[in-house]
């Protein structure tokens, strides 16, 4: 189980000032937990690409943002991530809901370039976004790890450390709905 309250505590521990994003099922509880938080301001966007540019501006202004969006929106955001975060070397932790992960795992599929065939990408029993997600992260040079339960929360610290040390975006993929 991935507990929203525990995640918020970790974000406080990392001195996060803003969470910029757009909610989905996986992040709904987290957004709800942040709605009245006194230390972290939620910035709601209309399209996920906005989130990366807003986060870049926040960082330049001295804040410490996190981006929280779903994998579909992440794929839509390619140029914003490239131009506003990677190009500027913004240290940025991104919490990304992994849509379709359960179906992928149940079918025993491990995302890879070889799986990205027209036949697989149109399979009705799989979410093509799930098949594309990890290969896309790798292609865009974004290091990532999975976040499936409270036991994984130490990975959050590692992600912040790596983002800071390497001046890069680092992704944590949320594979279970937050509660």
């Amino acid at each position: 189980m991935l507990t929203a309250a525990r995640l918020v505590t970790e974000l406080h521990r990392q001195c996060v000032t803003h969470v910029v994003g757009l909610p989905d099922n996986a992040s709904a509880a987290l957004f709800a937990a942040l709605a009245h938080d006194e230390q972290i301001t939620v910035v709601a966007v209309t399209r996920e690409g906005e989130a990366f540019a807003i986060a870049a501006g926040l960082w330049m202004g001295g804040a410490k943002p996190v981006v929280l969006i779903q994998s579909t929106g992440f794929i839509e955001s390619g140029d914003a991530l490239r131009g506003c975060v990677t190009r500027l070397r913004i240290p940025l932790v991104c919490l990304l809901g992994y849509r379709g992960y359960r179906k992928l795992a149940a079918a025993g599929l491990r995302p890879s370039l070889e799986l990205l065939t027209p036949a697989n990408l149109s399979r009705p029993d799989q979410d093509s976004c799930a098949l594309l997600f990890e290969p896309t992260l790798r292609a865009w040079g974004i290091p990532y790890d999975l976040l499936s339960s409270d036991h994984d929360l130490s990975r959050l610290t590692a992600a912040f450390d790596r983002a800071q040390a390497e001046e890069t975006a680092v992704a944590l993929l949320i594979v279970e709905d937050t509660e």
């Binding site: 301001t41 209309t46 540019a53 807003i54 870049a56 202004g61 001295g62 804040a63």
Partner: protein, 207 residues
């Protein structure tokens, strides 16, 4: 129609300690007028996101005004940003839409809806309480001191003549704001803002 000089020169004269974010066709002309430490050229980055970046700066620096000189082609790419700015309550943000009706630096190809789209009406519909459209230089320069003092978010649409700025790159023979890499420029601005914030805190609590 207003020329780029008529748009930028009065603004450069009146600008004090505001952050100014430029993009596309106004980057070089503004860079020739200003080398302020709080300037940031959103060039060689991602088209369409200068207003988003300015919003982030405004939220991180609520005590300081942020001016974004966005283009009409750029604004069309992220119209949702009008809504995001209002939702975020960025009262210190002044968003200019420089409406020349073309994608200037790629050769003045017309933008969709050129001459028909009403950006001020879009901003109003998104919740901007204050929107303005200027087609002539004199009313614009007369209103500018008041515009800079208004509580925002404010949207100012300025209909300008076509310009002829060629594509941009960051290299030593460019205007000063394009001589550093984006990453260097981001760190330069962050350091300047953090330094100014620290100085303001020291002044506010002597001893």
């Amino acid at each position: 129609m207003i020329t780029k000089s008529q748009l930028l020169e009065p603004l450069a004269r009146l600008r004090t300690d505001q952050i100014v974010v430029t993009t596309m066709g106004v980057v070089r002309p503004w860079g020739r007028l200003s080398a302020h430490p709080f300037d940031f050229a959103s060039a060689d980055s991602a088209m369409g996101h200068a207003a988003d970046l300015a919003l982030g700066l405004a939220l991180a620096q609520p005590q300081r005004r942020v001016i974004c000189l966005n283009g009409d082609g750029s604004m069309l790419m992220t119209l949702g940003t009008f809504v995001t700015i209002v939702q975020a309550g960025a009262r210190n943000l002044l968003l200019f839409v420089v409406e020349n009706a073309t994608y200037e630096i790629t050769g003045n190809q017309p933008v969709p809806g050129a001459g028909r789209v009403d950006f001020a009406a879009m901003a109003r519909a998104a919740g901007f309480a204050r929107t303005f459209t200027f087609k002539e230089a004199e009313p614009y320069s007369t209103a500018l001191p008041d515009l800079l003092a208004l509580d925002g978010p404010v949207c100012v649409v300025v209909r300008t003549e076509h310009g002829h700025e060629p594509p941009m790159s960051r290299r030593p023979d460019e205007v000063p704001c394009l001589q550093r890499s984006l990453a260097e420029d981001a760190r330069r601005l962050r350091a300047a803002l953090l330094d100014a914030t620290a100085r303001r805190s020291e002044t506010a609590s002597p001893g």
